[in-house]
């Protein structure tokens, strides 16, 4: 059991540093912002009590936001994402009861299901992030477009990395 927590801590630090030191420096124009850290929430163990995952996502969002003066913004959207996650899992993976599969992974859940799972949650995260960031309807269509393009780019990055690096972990 302690093994899981050590792994979570290492992953937490890695995702945080990767986001603020590497991805925050990549500029793809005003329409696309890359966020990789939501993958931490996507990969949380299924058996983990919901209150721990809520707290963890709050701390993660808060720490990422510290680097850009928007800790509240990131904490808010990450907590919403973690809150919605169990419902999304129930819909997409009705059979997952948490006894056999420890985490949702690309290999075990299948390509299409995982993309759906990742995209829905990341879309929710980006939706709240960008809507609250703008906080007005003056640039409504631009914001909507930004939410869509950023979600697609972030999901692609997450799928790609899941495919390349995290696959070996299983078995």
């Amino acid at each position: 059991m302690s093994n899981i927590y050590i792994r979570l801590v290492i992953r937490f630090i890695f995702f945080l540093l990767f986001q603020v030191l590497v991805l925050n420096n990549i500029e793809l124009g005003g329409l696309m912002n890359l966020y990789y850290y939501p993958l931490f929430v996507l990969l949380l163990p299924l058996r983990m009590p919901q209150w721990i995952s809520l707290l963890l996502s709050f701390v993660l969002g808060y720490s990422v936001g510290l680097f850009s003066n928007s800790s509240g913004l990131h904490a808010f959207s990450t907590v919403i994402m973690a809150f919605v996650r169990p419902f999304v899992i129930q819909i997409i993976f009705p059979k997952a009861d948490g006894s056999d599969t420890e985490e949702i992974s690309l290999e075990q859940s299948g390509f299409v299901n995982f993309i759906l799972y990742a995209f829905i949650l990341i879309f929710i995260h980006h939706f709240f992030l960008f809507i609250i960031e703008v906080w007005s309807f003056t640039k409504f269509y631009f914001t909507i477009l930004k939410i869509f393009t950023s979600s697609i780019v972030s999901t692609s990055l997450i799928i790609l990395s899941e495919y390349l690096f995290w696959r070996k972990r299983i078995k």
Partner: protein, 275 residues
């Protein structure tokens, strides 16, 4: 009572969710206020140190480019020195300098974290209280306006970038009157002016200067040029797009402006408001 506790325990996660969102909402409101000091922000020491380390690696890569731009600025400044000016009449020489007194001092600083993609962008500089940087000082670079200092710690400061939906800069178009320039929120090379009255004649490529009204920035500093303008039917004001002369994507060396006279104007103004 026991039922209440049972209810709370059963719905603990929902309760926690609501509490966490309230905390986040409170943080959002606190961080979005323009002049209010946030206790926790990126000028705190740990975040600053981490970004400083990252900056050291990055600055090494851009060293050559940075050298070139500093050399160019040196050359320009050298041209403005008294010894490079030739007196027109050699029998008659006015020392104009004794007629003037310094109004601005500059503190050079380096950008260690820069944002351009967001709606509200901030910069972090590697100078702080120890280097006499204070809140509400303006920040400029060799090509134009950068922003205003929001928060200061011992070694770092956070700057509200010009690329922030809340920032306003007092400017004038060519020789026209004083208007305010703001950023629309999506294009890092363009800013807008919406309050220039229509009786003033402007044309494309007119230069936009700082007005220096509020003493944040020195006056007559070039900010950009008029890229495009439009006068809609029935409107009394132009809608002007300004092409910023400053390249926010490649921002490295900046100057924090220490205005020696702003304290006076501020106290005078506050006296009026108090009455």
């Amino acid at each position: 009572m026991r039922n209440l506790f049972q209810f709370l325990f059963k719905n603990f996660q929902y309760l926690l969710f609501i509490i966490l969102e309230i905390i986040s909402g409170y943080l959002i409101v606190k961080e979005s206020s323009f002049h209010q000091s946030a206790y926790i922000n990126s000028s705190n020491q740990l975040v600053g140190d981490l970004l400083e380390k990252q900056h050291q690696v990055k600055s090494f890569i851009y060293l050559r480019k940075e050298n070139d731009s500093l050399a160019a600025e040196n050359a320009r400044l050298r041209g403005e020195q008294p010894y490079s000016l030739l007196s027109i009449k050699d029998s008659f020489f006015i020392v104009t300098d004794s007629n003037k007194r310094p109004a601005f001092k500059y503190i050079s600083a380096e950008v260690i974290n820069n944002e351009v993609n967001k709606v509200n962008n901030y910069l972090i500089l590697n100078k702080g209280l120890k280097n006499r940087v204070r809140k509400n000082m303006g920040v400029i670079c060799d090509k134009g306006v950068v922003g205003i200092v929001k928060d200061v710690s011992d070694d770092f400061c956070v700057v509200i970038s010009l690329l922030n939906s809340k920032s306003r800069v007092g400017v004038r178009v060519d020789k026209g009157n004083y208007v305010s320039m703001f950023w629309e929120g999506y294009d890092a090379t363009t800013a807008s002016i919406n309050d220039l009255p229509k009786h003033i004649k402007i044309k494309k490529n007119d230069t936009v200067f700082t007005s220096g009204e509020s003493w944040f920035y020195p006056p007559n500093l070039m900010v950009g040029t008029v890229k495009d303008y439009e006068l809609k039917n029935g409107k009394n004001f132009y809608e002007i797009k300004v092409k910023l002369s400053n390249d926010f994507y490649a921002l490295k060396n900046v100057y924090v402006v220490q205005s020696l006279l702003r304290a006076q104007t501020d106290t005078l103004l506050s006296k009026i408001h108090d009455e």
